[in-house]
């Protein structure tokens, strides 16, 4: 029998470990001068270095170092006075050298933390996630698996390799073991990735688009009986491509582990693949025999020893923390805590801010993003930012409603149209012929038609039974194809029937 989440947390407590990889937004690659622009034709952004040709040598991108230090400082880490690159040796066709130049026992940033706030039944609660290390490495090439039915590696006949992405600078952020989250583990995990993403975006070091892979999260989950000391066996879940997936993956794994443990079975230490459609994970490579990476210091590169001057210089350029920024917004908009949390949860805060920057009223902007748009995003199971509608659109719509060009109801139609890809607001208004009917005479015609069609209802209204007017209003709205201002219709109707 499938366990419920509350069953799980009544017996077990979760322990988390989160590994986030960030693609840095540098112009050139980590160890060579090839372009990093996304989407180029295959193998047009490669050179002897990132192809791993015999004789090629790496040279470190100084900007990538600066960015990594900035990330470390923003995460309250200590910047190591001396750090080194190391070779992580294993064979895989997407890795040109069959080793990854990474960092091992001497990473550039260590021992930081990130505080996140999660909405609990006792109100907002703060959790401190400790960060073990932030280090640098390089990305691999991309493979297309051909011949199979799924496009995935299983069942493929052969693969085609494109090394454009090989050598893109990556930063890996690894948390220490996260305990004490209890039933909020999924939310804490999500909040951590969300906050991390905001910080990285604020630093300008990456475009952090989870859907595009410039921000990747691997979630490690294990369970132990409440009060137990020993850690349980963990599983690592990959392919977690959105904030929502982080939360679902953690929750899903917690349930899966609990079901196994309840049956007296062992949890296998393995890597699992998360599936968006089912919210479940399937097993991947078994981690029972850990691969021997034979790490050793990279002899082709020399140590990185950032001076304290450099570190302080970078520290001085750090932008304000997202939590500080959020506090300022909250004050400016006069918004209660709960609504701030709702916006963060729906991942629309930046969108609202951008909409306000374009001149929209904060309350109205919030209303749209948190209301209609968030609802549609949820329905489609995507993030609001992935929809076709953007802050510019919403700002326009808000303005049109304020000017009386649109009613709320009509505005909703416009929003739907924009999301469906029919174009921008003004285009949709024209195409669909959306127009508020505010001309009294046109409205009167519709009103009289409705009264004529339902004389007994009209009589009821005249008799003082106001609610009956609803049926007439409905008919009038239908007649005007919803383009009449419902409030105006009601006003005129009641007046006409002697009740206004």
């Amino acid at each position: 029998m499938a366990l419920s989440y509350s069953d799980v947390i009544s017996k077990y407590e979760p322990v988390l470990g989160l590994e986030v990889h960030v693609e840095l937004g540098t112009e050139s690659k980590m160890f060579c001068g090839c372009n990093t622009v996304f989407g180029a034709a295959p193998n047009t952004q490669t050179c002897p270095v990132c192809l791993g040709l015999p004789g090629a040598l790496p040279v470190v991108n100084g900007k990538a170092i600066d960015y990594t230090i900035a990330i470390g400082l923003a995460l309250n880490c200590s910047i190591a006075p001396y750090s080194r690159f190391a070779r992580k040796n294993y064979f895989y066709p997407d890795m040109p050298k069959n080793f990854q130049t990474s960092q091992y026992d001497e990473p550039i940033c260590v021992n930081g933390y990130l505080d996140v706030t999660v909405d609990t039944e006792d109100g907002p609660k703060e959790f401190r996630i400790e960060i073990e290390r932030v280090h640098m490495e390089e990305d691999t090439g991309k493979s297309l698996h051909m011949g199979g039915s799924t496009g995935r590696i299983h069942g493929a006949d052969y693969s085609l390799l494109d090394y454009n992405r090989a050598g893109i600078p990556l930063v890996e952020i690894v948390t220490k073991v996260v305990t004490g989250t209890g039933k909020y583990a999924p939310e804490v995990a999500r909040a951590y990735v969300s906050e991390l993403r905001d910080i990285l975006r604020g630093l300008g070091v990456s475009d952090v688009k989870m859907e595009q892979g410039s921000l990747r999260c691997d979630a490690n989950v294990s369970l132990r009986l409440i009060g137990a000391e020993k850690l349980g066996t963990r599983s690592e879940t990959k392919n977690v491509n959105s904030l929502r997936s982080v939360e679902r993956a953690v929750r899903g794994e917690m349930i899966r582990h609990a079901e196994l443990l309840d049956k007296g079975e062992r949890v296998t230490q393995e890597t699992r693949h998360f599936h968006e459609d089912t919210g479940l994970t399937t097993p991947g490579r078994s981690k029972e025999q850990a691969e021997d990476y034979r790490y050793f210091p990279e002899p082709d590169l020399v140590p990185v020893a950032p001076s304290s001057e450099l570190v302080e210089k970078i520290r001085a350029t750090l932008p304000e923390k997202p939590s500080v920024r959020r506090k300022k917004l909250q004050e400016a908009w006069q918004v209660p805590e709960k609504e701030m949390a709702a916006m963060i949860n729906a991942d629309v805060l930046d969108l609202v801010e951008d909409t306000v920057k374009l001149g929209a009223d904060p309350t109205r902007a919030r209303g749209w993003w948190l209301g209609e748009i968030a609802r549609i995003a949820n329905e489609k199971a995507v993030a609001a930012s992935e929809l076709s509608i953007n802050p510019q659109d919403v700002a326009e719509i808000v303005a049109l409603v304020a000017q009386g060009e649109l009613t709320d109801k009509l505005a909703r139609q416009v929003v739907e149209g924009v999301i469906n890809g029919e174009g921008r607001p003004t285009e949709i208004i024209e195409k669909r012929g959306i127009k508020v009917v505010s001309d009294d005479s046109a409205l009167m015609a519709a009103i009289e038609k409705a009264i004529a069609a339902q004389p007994d209802v009209a009589e009821k209204v005249r008799g003082g039974h106001i609610p009956a007017a609803g049926a007439l209003i409905g008919a009038i709205m239908k007649e005007t194809k919803g383009q009449a201002d419902a409030a105006k219709v009601r006003e005129l109707l009641l007046k006409h029937l002697g009740q206004g």
Partner: protein
């Protein structure tokens, strides 16, 4: 061996395994050990290779294990002969190879990509 030309001195390679009270390392390397290493190194060693190598390696390992005699805890390791540090380049785009150049050595290619056989391992 020509005796007039001098033989290499065995003393140079003889190991004294009373390694100063430290753990004496077992330099025995079995055929299975070699087979596992060959797997890690992605080389399809023949049976012949495997048996030869395990003997040769055992001899070499005995010889080289003597580094432990002097590698005390107080000695820092060197991984670079030069005291260089902080060698960086500007974040500037430089010309890449053309796809033809990049693929020029490819044993097989398709659609401007390197064509490789079915990959069994996980991604």
């Amino acid at each position: 061996m020509d005796s007039e030309r001098g033989r290499p001195n065995p003393k140079v390679i003889r190991v004294k395994c009373e390694a100063l009270g430290k753990v004496t390392f077992m330099s025995n390397i079995s055929r299975d050990d070699v087979a596992n290493l060959a797997k890690l190194a992605r080389i399809d060693l023949s049976e012949d290779d495997l048996s030869h190598l395990s003997n040769e390696l055992a001899v070499i390992l005995e010889a080289v294990a003597r580094v432990q005699e002097v590698a005390g805890a107080d000695v820092p390791p060197t991984s670079h002969p030069l005291p260089l540090k902080n060698v960086f380049r500007e974040d500037q785009v430089r010309p890449s190879l053309t796809p033809d150049e990049a693929l020029s050595g490819a044993p097989a290619q398709e659609e401007q990509r390197f064509k490789v056989p079915q990959i069994l391992g996980e991604e």
